[in-house]
């Protein structure tokens, strides 16, 4: 129900939150950067190969003379050891990083929501088993577990999704579980139950809207975290496999030329930091705008 504000315009909780978010300069800067990166990554096929060069294929006739050139107007980020344009690879790498961020976090949120809902709604044994399983996942140092999992599953982008998704669910499950528990006993939920609403409807219509804010905040921040994890896994050679460029495997590749061609490691690194920072700032802004208290 829109409530009429003093100006007479319709005001909803969501519109209020949005207005508060737009007042936060850092969060807006983060949002703008994310939108920009998305536009560049999505539109890459239209202009990048023509102006900067192909990110993957190697032109054997010119590769030797074009390899390891420092940044210049023709190659703003320089070229790699195979004569490919680094800027082009960074842009195509953005596709992988964003995809990993979004898909992995989507998996994590879905698994976490289901686990949290089952634990809170059914309680008893379900709750005990799911929450103990969450403890097991929390006992593992995160990066180490991701590495072991990928070492066993094998590298590749799908397995990176799976690893990050599997490792992230307990936090979401805990958040959602405690949100549900805090509203489960409220009178309006009782009223809905008394009217004969089925469990899924109570969850979707009455509990979800009250529990969604912390999950939005946590998921936004987790996208940044997932991008960092992909980078770490690819750096160790277990993430996205060459020749497809990802920011992480570009850094791994750059390691051998670190001192002779530092631009190879500088630009992908800057891409990671700015993008992750944008998600962190946006997450901070959302937390303040939605007035969410996260424990950690």
């Amino acid at each position: 129900m829109p409530i009429l504000g003093p100006e007479g315009k319709g005001r909803t909780l969501r519109a209020d939150a949005w207005r508060r978010l737009l007042k936060n300069k850092l969060a807006v800067a983060g949002l703008i950067w994310i939108v920009l990166v998305v536009i560049v990554a999505v539109s890459a096929d239209l202009w990048v190969p023509r102006y900067l060069g192909d990110p993957i294929s190697i032109d054997t006739t010119t590769a030797a003379e074009r390899s390891l050139q420092p940044p210049s107007p023709a190659h703003p980020f320089g070229t790699d050891q195979l004569g490919r344009d680094t800027a082009s690879r960074v842009i195509y790498g953005a596709r992988v990083s964003l995809l990993v961020g979004v898909v992995a976090v989507a998996i994590m949120v879905m698994v976490g929501l289901v686990a949290g809902a089952v634990a809170a709604y059914y309680g008893g044994w379900w709750d005990a088993i799911i929450m103990r399983a969450a403890d097991v996942f929390f006992a593992f140092p995160y990066v180490l577990f991701a590495i072991v999992l990928l070492a066993l599953l094998g590298g590749g982008v799908q397995n990176v999704f799976i690893a990050i998704g599997i490792l992230g669910w307990p936090s979401i499950a805990r958040l959602f579980r405690s949100s549900i528990l805090s509203v489960k006993e409220m009178e309006y939920v009782d009223a809905a139950r008394a009217m004969g609403a089925p469990a899924w409807r109570i969850l979707a219509r009455h509990i979800m809207p009250n529990a969604v804010s912390p999950i939005i905040v946590y998921a936004t921040m987790s996208i940044g975290g997932a991008i960092l994890t992909e980078a770490a896994l690819s750096y160790l050679g277990m993430g996205v496999q060459l020749p497809s460029p990802s920011w992480g495997n570009m850094l791994a590749d750059a390691g051998s030329f670190m001192f002779s061609a530092p631009w190879l490691m500088i630009y992908p690194g800057i891409a990671i930091v700015t993008t992750v920072l944008a998600f962190v700032l946006l997450g901070d802004g959302l937390r303040d705008a939605l007035d969410v208290k996260l424990k950690d």
């Binding site: 103990r132 399983a133 403890d135 097991v136 006992a139 593992f140 140092p141 995160y142 990066v143 180490l144 577990f145 590495i147 072991v148 999992l149 070492a151 066993l152 094998g154 940044g224 960092l228 980078a231 770490a232 750096y235 160790l236 050679g237 277990m238 992480g248 850094l251 750059a254 390691g255 670190m258 001192f259 530092p262 490691m265 690194g269 990671i272 930091v273 992750v276 920072l277 962190v280 700032l281 901070d284």
Partner: protein
């Protein structure tokens, strides 16, 4: 108090079983694609005789719960198996590497405590000043940095560029080397490992101190005429520090887990690098053994932190037992 400790230890048991089961399952033949005998046999060609011997030795023909039981029994006696590659007990290999990792993590923890607390206190006391903005921005950037990239940047700047510019420079890798004293080798890896944790420590210190400083008893202390510095040192800081110290304790575990990246970047001969190398060689006993030890260590540290916390703050042991 004793009852609380006993409860906490009992709670660890299912978690430990879960962790080992997970580690056992992921390396069990049914889950990992490929022939376990091939993997165990290593370079040797797999003749039927070798196959039978390997199957017999590792009990691969037994049901999986029997295998887990055997694995758990060995584990509880400190037997982590034998490295496929090195043909030595895993516990010996890891024991050699642990001091290096602990040294690195210890120095990093020291950096975290000094810099993190210092920056956090500064930022809370001089709220909304230039320093506060600087600390907030720096910590935001630090948590967004890939740790290994920071390591590479530090190597490039302090190792290579400083040398080129004729400034005093730092070694970029390794434990040994006669050119520098051993402690100097620690500087870059320790700062790299400490980076993210230091940022979090600063943020937690800032928010805790700001919360405490808003409380009545702090206002009373100021009202009775204590100077600003005395109020903070004698009254605010003490209460603000409890969650911070907890965080530092818990973080030591996360740090040891995080050494795999830092040790790889700096070629630091510790547990992390050993696990990383073992992964590329498919030397599973080293990998799972290393992980089990690290997880166990994290759990014990968490336990100690919880116990000390309950010791310092009686409210915790009462509410938890009452639950």
């Amino acid at each position: 108090m004793l009852r609380y400790v006993a409860r906490r230890i009992l709670q660890m048991v299912p978690v430990f079983i879960g962790v080992t089961m997970l580690l056992f399952l992921v390396r069990a033949p049914a889950i990992v694609p490929g022939d376990p005998v091939r993997m165990l046999a290593g370079e040797r060609s797999v003749t039927p005789a070798v196959r039978a011997a390997v199957t017999e030795k590792y009990g691969l023909d037994r049901p999986i719960y029997v295998q887990y039981y055997r694995y758990m029994g060995d584990l509880l006696q400190g037997d982590l198996g034998e490295s496929y590659q090195l043909k030595r007990p895993v516990s010996d290999v890891l024991l050699e590497k642990f001091p290096n990792t602990l040294k690195l993590a210890g120095v990093a923890l020291l950096i975290e405590a000094l810099l993190g607390l210092g920056a956090g206190i500064l930022s809370a006391v001089k709220r909304y000043s230039f320093w506060d903005v600087l600390v907030t921005l720096t910590t935001s950037i630090l948590v967004s940095l890939p740790v290994f990239w920071l390591g590479m940047l530090l190597q490039l700047i302090f190792g290579v560029k400083f040398k080129e510019w004729g400034l005093p420079y730092l070694p970029v890798s390794g434990v040994s080397g006669s050119q520098f004293p051993a402690l100097v080798h620690l500087i870059l890896p320790a700062f790299t490992l400490a980076s993210v944790s230091t940022a979090y420590a600063a943020r937690i210190t800032r928010s805790q101190l700001m919360e405490v400083m808003g409380q009545d008893y702090v206002r009373t202390a100021a009202a009775k005429g204590l100077s600003g510095g005395q109020v903070i040192r004698r009254h605010a800081l003490k209460n603000a520090m409890i969650p911070v110290v907890t965080f530092l304790g818990l973080d030591l575990g996360a740090m040891v887990g995080g050494t795999i990246l830092t040790e790889t970047v700096f070629n630091w001969n510790g547990v992390g690098l050993t696990i990383f190398k073992a992964i590329s060689l498919r030397d599973w006993p080293i990998v799972t053994g290393g992980v089990v030890i690290i997880v166990l260590m994290v759990m014990v540290i968490n336990l100690l932190v919880d116990i000390s916390y309950a010791f310092l703050d009686p409210r915790i042991r009462y509410t938890r037992v009452a639950k």
